[in-house]
Structure formats: structure tokens, C-alpha cells
């Protein structure tokens, strides 16, 4: 089981400049996915760079879920491939993807209510001695370290998740991706159920992940969130990629137009221009 010691910075460390000259961490090449006769994803390519927040946008049924479920290893693309650090990879299960460094913060957060914060952080990759004994001291120590690194305010790590607020739960789920040393963190609607203040905290978390050189793929319907943290936006419509733009080059209205597909002709031009 891949276990990453967070205190030793990765080779792709925090001081990696945010630029497209860098080698992408994950590249998706011409991926399509069919379910029976339905084409959920059609010939989508995407590069995800370290230290960059990419917003994945699209209306319901645009293929966002299919795309991230595929990246997190639940099923492979029907055609096309996923590359990590330039090499093609095949994930047989979510566990494989996680071991390779792709962590997903699920919408349900995948937390166990009646277990402690530390237990939840290490769920599925518990540090053990002699192969079967839980190393609780190490869990508590490293849990504290990870939470300090994220600068989040949580009760003691032995507290049950049951007592945490929505934002605090999100923080635990995000911290979990650091514990496993992920290079790419996929977040599915992380602020959907949160209030204004908690949303702000989660966005701070995303920025901190980015500053540490992690690549973040953010799914959100909230344009405020997208414009405040994302560096780049990729828009899917009906399973196709229709735009891949730097956030600073577009306005909110243009993005909304791309997602809705209202202005068909001009946005096709844009796509061609981008290509």
C-alpha cells in the first residue's frame, strides 16, 4: 500500500512554478467512454499540471462525472488512454488509482461517523506494525502534522467525525488526500452543502493544496468558487470538450455561455482558436 511521508517534500515540490512548460502530472489522451449505445465521453484530451487548479465545468449529463469516475479508477476508458508522468497507466480499481497518486474527494466525503479524525484520515492505508497491529501513535502524530500543514482548525484528532461541521468534514476528506501523497486531487462539488464562511475555508484548502504543488481538478457549479480559485477551466458539453481556457482570459458570462451552449457558433470558433 502506497504510504507517503508528507514531511519529505516530493520531487515536484512546493516551489514548482505554475506554468504550462512543466510536465503534466496526468494526461488524458483522446478518451471515450460508452455505456451500451450511449456515448458518455467522446474523444476528450486533457493535461493536468502540478500546482494548478483546473475547474471542470458542464451542465448535468455533460460527462463530468464519467470523466472523474474514470480518472479515479472505477472503470477504464473505452478507447484512448490515461498517462501519468508521460507513461500510460491502467487502473483496475480505485485502489490502484489511489496508489498511483490520484485521490478523489467524493461528494459523500466517504467518512465513518463514529470513528476518530485520525482513523478516518488513514482509512484504507493504516500504518501497521508486524502487518496487523495499528500504529496509533504514528496515526495521531502524522494526522496532527497533516492538519497543521493545511492550517485547518479541528478538534483533537481523536474526536469522532460525528461532532464535526460540514466544512471540518471537508477538511478531513481533503487532508486524507495529503496523507496518501496524492499528485492529483479530484474534488466533486466540495462546497455544494456549505455556508459562505465554510466555503471560504474550503477554497483556502484548495489554494494550499495548489501551493504545495498538487494538481487539483475541481468540479463545481458555483462560478464564484471557480473564479476565485481556478487557474483554468475545461468545459464539457454532451461528452465533448468544448473549451479549455485560462480563467484570466475569460469572463463569467463567456464561461456560462460555454456551459449552457447558448451561443453555438461563436463558441465553436473559440474552440478552434484554442486548438
Amino acid at each position: 500500500m502506497a504510504y507517503h511521508d508528507f514531511r519529505e517534500p516530493d520531487a515536484t515540490g512546493a516551489d514548482m512554478p505554475m506554468s504550462t512548460d512543466a510536465q503534466p502530472i496526468v494526461s488524458v489522451r483522446n478518451a471515450s467512454r460508452h455505456f451500451g449505445r450511449v456515448t458518455a465521453l467522446s474523444d476528450v484530451s486533457m493535461d493536468l499540471y502540478p500546482g494548478q487548479v483546473t475547474a471542470l465545468l458542464g451542465d448535468n449529463g455533460a460527462g463530468k462525472s464519467t470523466f472523474i469516475t474514470m480518472l479515479s479508477g472505477v472503470f477504464p476508458p473505452s478507447s484512448g488512454e490515461i498517462q501519468m508522468d508521460g507513461k500510460p497507466v491502467h487502473f483496475a480499481s480505485p485502489h490502484d488509482a489511489r496508489a498511483a497518486g490520484i485521490a478523489t474527494v467524493f461528494q459523500g466525503l466517504a467518512l465513518i461517523e463514529d470513528r476518530s479524525i485520525a482513523d478516518n484520515l488513514f482509512l484504507g492505508c493504516e500504518p501497521v506494525r508486524f502487518g496487523f497491529l495499528l500504529d496509533r501513535k504514528r496515526m495521531v502524530r502524522e494526522a496532527k502534522g497533516v492538519l497543521e500543514q493545511l492550517k485547518v482548525n479541528l478538534p483533537p484528532v481523536t474526536t469522532s467525525v460525528r461532532f464535526l461541521s460540514g466544512g471540518q468534514r471537508q477538511a478531513v476528506a481533503v487532508a486524507r488526500t495529503i496523507v496518501t501523497g496524492s499528485k492529483l486531487v479530484i474534488m466533486d462539488e466540495p462546497t455544494a452543502a456549505l455556508g459562505v464562511r465554510e466555503t471560504g475555508k474550503v477554497l483556502d484548502l484548495i489554494r494550499r493544496l495548489r501551493d504545495q504543488g498538487t494538481s487539483v481538478l475541481l468540479i463545481s457549479h458555483n462560478m464564484d468558487d471557480v473564479f476565485s480559485v481556478a487557474d483554468r477551466a475545461v468545459v464539457l458539453r454532451l461528452g465533448r470538450k468544448v473549451a479549455d481556457v485560462a480563467i484570466r482570459d475569460v469572463t463569467r458570462e463567456q464561461i456560462v455561455g460555454l456551459v449552457m451552449g447558448g451561443e453555438r457558433a461563436p463558441e465553436r470558433d473559440k474552440q478552434e482558436a484554442a486548438a
Binding site: 480505485p94 459523500g108 466517504a110 461517523e113 482513523d119 497491529l133 495499528l134 460525528r162 461532532f163
Partner: protein, 334 residues
């Protein structure tokens, strides 16, 4: 009142410990023979059998499943031990091994059907309850098998002897308790057991294999039924097809009173120990106080109903805890 204090005051174990003490004092004051060492060891012996099956059942309840066929499995294994010794002339140790193996296989079967074929364990094990009890009656033709005194083996000492005044079963149960508690608290298996029952989806998403955990746990429950069956035959020197009939209720009662939640994810070995002591103390004490035998069942049932009904209110995040916290805030402004 702070968090730690509230959760201590509302700790299931703390509450139950006081219940145990209160019951003990109540019975001791009202029955002249309750404090006899014979009575006390009898209570411990009943507790022991409840625990040997109840502890693995606690695991299963934590994993979010239940096994109602424990009493029948236990009875069948007891009968098979006696049958192998008397009818087939097996060495008693070998007969015990056969019983343990049979129990384990039945547990494995329950686990496979629940996990692989997705049969709800509640329905499946009700079927197995009837099926296994029926088998025990069929192979004995409804009659008990006596293991007469002419069969001599060290097995009978290990199963039913005494070390000083302490019955051997109590030693077996103590060992089971220590191991179970340790596994739940300190091992990877324990952590994943709680994860499986606490949130199957999350466990799956995080790379835990809940199905495998459940199969192992069902198997362990079966193993404990086999062990209890062999020990009972060794102790009483009789293999009765009615052994353990209705026993599943007392054992499940002990587990539920002990705080394990049938919804999964919650439960401790200490809780089940206290639950088992409460149930066996009631069973013995009520009779000693002069309560008619049939009423004992009523009281045990009442206790289960109360434990289940009060549970949501006594949870650390329930109304009672909030009220206690509020109390603290009012007396301590700022």
C-alpha cells in the same frame, strides 16, 4: 460541562457498570443465597457461554450483519461432538475438532451467501436457524446422546473441569474477551471492521474490502459456535438436540444491551461483557429472589426494549448530552 466529561458520563460502559452494581446489590439484599460462591460461579458460567459466542457476534453486529442461527449451530455442534465420541468411537479431542470445523464451515457458508449472493443475513440465518436445529433433531432422532463416565479423556477436564474454584469455561471466556477486545482496539482488522459497518460505501471507496471482512467475521462466529458446542458436550457429557434453543436471544440481548448497534459500526468487547453479565445475573438472580421462571424472559425482553428505546437519547450527540452541555453553559457564563 465539557465534552470529555459529558462523553464519560454518557459512556455506555459507565452506565452499564452502574447497572451491574445496582443489580448485584439488589439481588444480594433480597436473596440469602445470591452471594454464595456457587451462585456466583454459576452466573459466571452462563456469562462464559454467552461471551464465547457473543463476542464474535459483536464483531458481526459491528460489521452491520447479524447471525440468528448461532443457537442452532451451537446445538448441532454439541450433538455432533457426542455422536462422534459415542457412535463412531472417536477420540474426544478429535470429535471436538470435528465440531469446531463443522461450526466454522457453517459460518463460512453464511458469510459466502450473505456477501456473494447478497442474501440479507437476517433472512438467511432465520432459515439456517430452522435448518440446523432440524438437522440436530434428525441425526439424533430427537433424543439426547449420553457420553457415559466410561469415556476417559483429558478433553473432559479442559471443557468442564475447575481450576481451584473457577470453572474452566470462565477461563475460556476470559481468554476470548481479552483477545476480542485487543483485536477490536489495536489491530487493522478491528479498524476495518468498524469501517465496514460504519459506512460500507466509504470503506469501499477507500480501498477496504468489506465483503472479505464480513466473510471472515461470519466464519469466526461459526467457529465460536463449534467451540461452545464441543465445550458444552465435554462439560455436561451429553449431546442434546435442544442445546442452545432460544439461546440466540440471550446472546443477542447481551450484545445489544452491551451497546452494539444493529445498524453497524458501533460496539465494544467490554460492552458485551457487561451485557452478558447483566443477562446472566438476571436469569439466575430473579429465580433466586423467587420470581417464577417464565417471568425471567419477560424481564430480559423488557431490558432489551428499554436499551434500544433509550439508546438514541443517550448518544453523545443526542438530546440528553445537549441538555447537559446547556446546563454547563448556564452555570458558567462566557
Amino acid at each position: 460541562m465539557n465534552h470529555a466529561l459529558v462523553s464519560f458520563a454518557l459512556n455506555r460502559q459507565t452506565t452499564m457498570f452502574f447497572v451491574v452494581v445496582a443489580l448485584f446489590i439488589g439481588f444480594a439484599a433480597n436473596s440469602p443465597h445470591f452471594l454464595d460462591s456457587q451462585t456466583q460461579f454459576e452466573i459466571l458460567r452462563i456469562t462464559a457461554f454467552t461471551l464465547i459466542i457473543g463476542l464474535p457476534l459483536t464483531y458481526l453486529v459491528i460489521a452491520g450483519e447479524v447471525d440468528l442461527s448461532i443457537g442452532s449451530n451451537y446445538g448441532l455442534c454439541s450433538v455432533v461432538t457426542a455422536l462422534a465420541i459415542v457412535d463412531w468411537g472417536w477420540n474426544p479431542w478429535l470429535a471436538a475438532l470435528l465440531a469446531v470445523g463443522l461450526g466454522t464451515l457453517i459460518g463460512l457458508f453464511n458469510g459466502m451467501l450473505t456477501v456473494k449472493l447478497k442474501v440479507p443475513s437476517f433472512i438467511l440465518t432465520i432459515g439456517m436457524l430452522s435448518l440446523l436445529r432440524g438437522l440436530a433433531l434428525v441425526i439424533t432422532m430427537g433424543l439426547s446422546i449420553d457420553v457415559s463416565a466410561e469415556y476417559v479423556s483429558s478433553f473432559f477436564g479442559v471443557a468442564g473441569g475447575k481450576i481451584g474454584p473457577v470453572p474452566a469455561q470462565v477461563i475460556w471466556a476470559l481468554a476470548a474477551f481479552v483477545i476480542s477486545g485487543f483485536v477490536l482496539r489495536y489491530t487493522l482488522f478491528g479498524a476495518r471492521l468498524y469501517a465496514t459497518g460504519g459506512n460500507v460505501r466509504a470503506a469501499l471507496q477507500m480501498g477496504v474490502n468489506p465483503g472479505r471482512i464480513k466473510i471472515w467475521t461470519f466464519t469466526l462466529v461459526g467457529f465460536s459456535c463449534g467451540l461452545a458446542g464441543a465445550l458444552t458436550t465435554g462439560w455436561l457429557r451429553i449431546g442434546s438436540p435442544n442445546t442452545g434453543a432460544g439461546g440466540e436471544l440471550a446472546i443477542i440481548a447481551a450484545v445489544i444491551i452491551g451497546g452494539a448497534a444493529l445498524s453497524g459500526g458501533i460496539g465494544t468487547a467490554t460492552g458485551t461483557l457487561l451485557g452478558a453479565i447483566i443477562v446472566s445475573m438476571l436469569q439466575t438472580g430473579l429465580i433466586l429472589v423467587g420470581v417464577q421462571g417464565n417471568w425471567v424472559q419477560v424481564y430480559v425482553g423488557l431490558l432489551i426494549v428499554m436499551a434500544a428505546a433509550l439508546e438514541p437519547y443517550l448518544r453523545p450527540d443526542g438530546p440528553f448530552a445537549e441538555w447537559l452541555m446547556g446546563l454547563g453553559r448556564r452555570t458558567d457564563p462566557g
